[in-house]
């Protein structure tokens, strides 16, 4: 069982370029999440999805978009990357998204925008 996989592991990107970070889970979890982690700020929620076909905005959604075409995949797209999007990005999932659920995290993608 792989849990949650993220790709790529790391990426250096020129400003203005489009980039999609991939996230796949094999636990059949309904809820999925994207966070960014920045030094001194902890993790901040970008977007979430409580079930396939639906998405919602988190704390810092600007400049990012997501889709949830099926249960397993939850890609995060930066339409036109800017240096302030340099961060470590974590995908997570939970069974149903409720208060009692445990979130399981992927290994992260380190993104540098120059």
């Amino acid at each position: 069982i792989a849990g949650i996989t993220q790709a790529p592991t790391s990426q250096i990107l020129a400003a203005g370029r489009r980039m999609t970070l991939r996230c796949t889970q094999d636990m059949r979890h309904n809820a999925m999440y994207w966070y960014r982690q920045d030094l001194g700020l902890g993790l901040r929620l970008i977007h979430y999805s409580n079930t396939a076909g639906t998405t919602g905005k988190g704390e810092v959604p600007d400049g990012y978009s997501v889709s949830r075409a099926n249960t397993d995949d939850f890609p995060l797209t930066l339409a036109s990357a800017v240096p302030s999007q340099t961060s470590v990005y974590f995908c997570a999932s939970s069974e149903a998204g409720g208060f009692t659920d445990t979130q399981y995290f992927g290994p992260g993608t380190r993104l540098t925008v120059l």
Partner: protein, 113 residues
């Protein structure tokens, strides 16, 4: 608005010594509180969580946390630290709607021999 404060950016503890990591939260209703650990280069792993009931919560790896409503605190403790506990620790509170978790900035734990 919900918020989480971890006052200590980093803490150094001797191996075998006790540990307490502080966490204060701001939330209008009954909070749902979590502690996560992140080892270098890894994602976050849940240590323990509190929803209701007994205010002393036991977690994995020998950790426990105590919810104190009067102090708006949820401090993490371990009686005897091992070198493998060196990591970053995040306190979190789940916000309204159940899908939005607010994380603290984290406390990095260093363990010296």
């Amino acid at each position: 608005a919900q918020s989480v404060t971890q006052p200590d950016i980093h803490i150094t503890v001797s191996e075998g010594a006790s540990l307490e990591l502080r966490c204060n939260y701001s939330y209008g209703a009954t909070p749902y509180l979590f502690w996560y650990v992140q080892s270098p280069g890894q994602g976050l792993q849940l240590l323990l969580k509190y929803f209701s009931g007994d205010t002393l919560v036991q977690g994995i790896k020998g950790f426990e946390a105590e919810f104190k409503r009067s102090q708006s605190s949820f401090n993490l403790r371990k009686p005897s630290v091992h070198w493998s506990d060196a990591a970053e620790y995040f306190c979190a509170v789940m916000g309204t709607g159940g899908f939005k978790t607010i994380f603290g900035a984290g406390t990095r734990l260093f363990v010296k021999a």
